[in-house]
Symmetry: C2
Subunit: 448 residues, 2 copies
């Protein structure tokens, strides 16, 4: 029997015979069996023990028991003592979580310091099945579905294909000593309910339940890799980065209707939106263009043909507004410079051809000028509409600008609060140069 | 409360107000509630009832109860009586399976005959959760994971987002009559164990278990769509059809190491191989070129750079062998024609340039000729090797032929059983035309 155990482990982890492995040993059935298997296989290993001080003297006795075993076998022994309860209280987390958070970083540190190739924990198939069922009960996408992973970086689980009862049989057959009540950080209340009350029922439906579920876990784990590939592959097709803006083409909704929420959630998850916001946004796509949602860091806009995501700024910070006291001055804006110049109309005058320069009738403009972005209710008289008033919002809509783009546009207002120039787009009709204009005000914007 | 129920259904199935739906009604809590909801919402519907005759008089009473309800509401009533036990016995399947197999085709037939848009069954969220857990217990990839689907073609499940207890509350609040013990084909033993012994434990871990699991099911169902897309997309990249042969490039194993078994199983599943064969084949890829596996219909070959799959023929049928009694004759082969011709060596003789024609020294060749494919142990003296013997297998290996290709090649043997021509590749050195040859035998193969 030991040979077949070792063969099975070696098939899963072919590197082990040539590696040095640090075994995490609690003193219980599972980890003592793991140590026995490494000893029998003659694979190089060391033993690491965490004393979580959760059971008083018994915890210290565990430590001594394992240390004695290590000395007897001539194996390096590493140990550490944690004040687990204190850590849990300090961080407001469960004892189990605190123990886990203390344990893994220490094991990895010992591995690095002492040049081990791997850290091995004694998790077995039943642990993994229980983890999957706990995750399902608490809610999980597919990532939590496949239980405990066989390897993650330098962390391996050599016993993961054995059931609890197989390991117990091995332990009995080989007369392996262990500590009955050894500190087992993973034995929490929910896990015990699954182990003692759910699994036996499932085993009554399928006597080979563990083996069957092992196959499930394997398929689900492979599916996770395929899903991650699919999400990344489709991201390349539908999601573009433009500066600090993310553009998500609505066509993914049509093309992948049955998976659209998952795709959207996965692509957008780094930006901290609430799932309900994303559900709302998805159903607004293509309907209520211009709707916006905010996370603490980002803003999501349902634009005409795409979702736009960019760092949240304008709505969260007070509206930017700059003053320019008198003609001839210049004002520094967040993304450029606005300069003014006043001069007599030359005999041979022609208008600038740049959309970022404009000449107005200086005598019509009252200082100081204000430079700011648009606000709800802004109105002006676009040049060429015969002096008719138009809502800036409608003006922008005709230009098919996204809300983000609108928010980037500078407006120049004169001392009366009238918009005299929508920078880059249109001057106001009331301030235009006409036959009688003799002094001109030239405004020019230069982007930085 | 009824309004919110109806709204929720209408949100999931926006077509219902404009459709005619055939409701499958057993008389139990779920289906009577469904009928009440359709009645209250004023959506056009008819009622269909299957009498499975599983509970004697009570089954007939169910029928009468539902018929009376239909008449009272002025709703069309369809019914049928099945001998379910007989059907189950005849087909050697469970009563539950027999009932299901009888029920759905009949419902669909009624739908088509009477012009309903949909068939609706009263499955609810708990049914779906139970189905997922049963599937997991019996073993499932991802397809069985997401429980019962909301819609499949014309079949819909309007109650799928309600829990059993929500529906019971609705029933009580609206004083809906139902048959306590109505025949419920889905109440099998395993389902009851999950319902009464597993779910309550999971609900003790998470009081909102059903709502949580509903989200799981939704995510898993979306994942299934993504996975199917990924498998099809990657198939386009790695799998090619060449005639009746499927060629699966080994590069998928390197490129998608963590998902290779799933991809391979999915691509190859139509060909009936056993999962163990596929596991073996995967680990043979690139190592033991030439290994083969057979399903009842197909043959899978681990070739040099790809798996090849083709209809199983040669190994299953007796080896083909054709006789050609005398020079000048021709023989019809499965895929072409082999012709012979004997003539005096002309003064100006030059060898044919086609690889499917060869001239030999007629006096060296003994009739009858045999035409067959290669066998283990075949040996010949390839022209140009100075008369040295070479195993045909090694000769083929040098040509980098796949085993399938080797099996397609015709050999011509003379009366002594010596290979005189490997058709399309090389004549035998011993039969070549030399300075002394005066009569020539020309062999030619023409493919059909």
């Amino acid at each position: 029997m030991p040979v077949s155990f070792i063969d099975k482990i070696a098939a899963m982890f072919p590197e082990l015979p040539e590696s040095r492995t640090l075994l995490a040993v609690s003193g219980g059935v599972d980890s003592m069996t793991m140590a026995h298997l490494f000893e029998t296989a003659d694979w190089a290993y060391g033993i690491a023990h965490c004393n979580f001080q959760l059971r008083g003297d018994a915890s210290d006795a565990d430590h001594d028991f394992i240390k004695a075993r290590a000395l007897y076998n001539g194996v390096t022994f590493h140990s550490i003592t944690f004040d687990t309860e204190d850590e849990a209280a300090k961080r407001g987390i469960s004892i189990q979580m605190a123990a886990r958070d203390l344990r893994y970083p220490w094991l990895e540190a010992v591995r690095q310091e002492h040049g081990y190739d791997f850290v091995a924990t004694a998790h077995h198939l039943n642990d993994s099945i229980e983890t999957s069922l706990i995750n399902q009960t608490r809610g999980t996408g597919w990532r939590g579905l496949s239980g405990i992973s066989e390897r993650q970086d330098h962390l391996i689980r050599p016993l993961l294909s054995f059931t609890r009862s197989e390991l117990e049989d091995y332990l009995r057959a080989n007369d392996i000593a262990f500590r009955e009540d050894s500190s087992n950080a993973k034995d929490d209340y929910h896990r015990n309910r699954i182990r003692h009350h759910v699994i036996p029922v499932l085993r009554s439906i399928n006597p080979a339940f563990e083996r069957t579920f092992e196959k499930n876990l394997k398929i689900w784990s492979e599916s996770t890799h395929l899903l991650e590939w699919a999400i990344a592959e489709l991201k390349q097709r539908y999601v573009q980065k433009r500066g600090d803006q993310l553009v998500i083409d609505y066509r993914f909704i049509e093309d992948h209707r049955d998976a659209a929420p998952t795709l959207f959630f996965e692509w957008v998850s780094p930006y901290g939106f609430h799932p309900d916001q994303l559900t709302q946004a998805l159903s607004a796509a293509g309907k209520s263009s211009g709707a916006m949602w905010y996370s603490t860091t980002h803003c999501l806009l349902a634009d005409r043909n795409a979702f736009l995501i960019q760092p949240a700024t304008s709505e969260r910070t007070p509206p930017v507004s700059h003053q320019l006291e008198k003609a001839g001055g210049r004002v520094s804006l967040e993304n450029g410079l606005l300069a003014t110049d006043v001069f007599d109309r030359p005999a041979e005058f022609s208008f600038s051809l740049s959309e970022f320069e404009v000449e107005l009738d200086a005598e019509k403009v009252q200082f100081p000028l204000t430079v700011r972005h648009w606000r709800e209710g802004d109105v002006f008289c676009p040049l060429g509409l015969g002096g008719r008033h138009k809502k800036l919002q409608d003006f922008f809509s005709n230009l098919k600008l996204s809300r983000f783009e609108k928010e980037q546009i500078w407006l120049v207002l004169d001392g009366r609060g009238e918009i005299i120039w929508v920078v880059g787009h249109r001057p106001d009709d009331r301030y235009k140069v006409d036959a009688k204009s003799s002094r001109l005000l030239k405004l020019s914007f230069r982007a930085r």
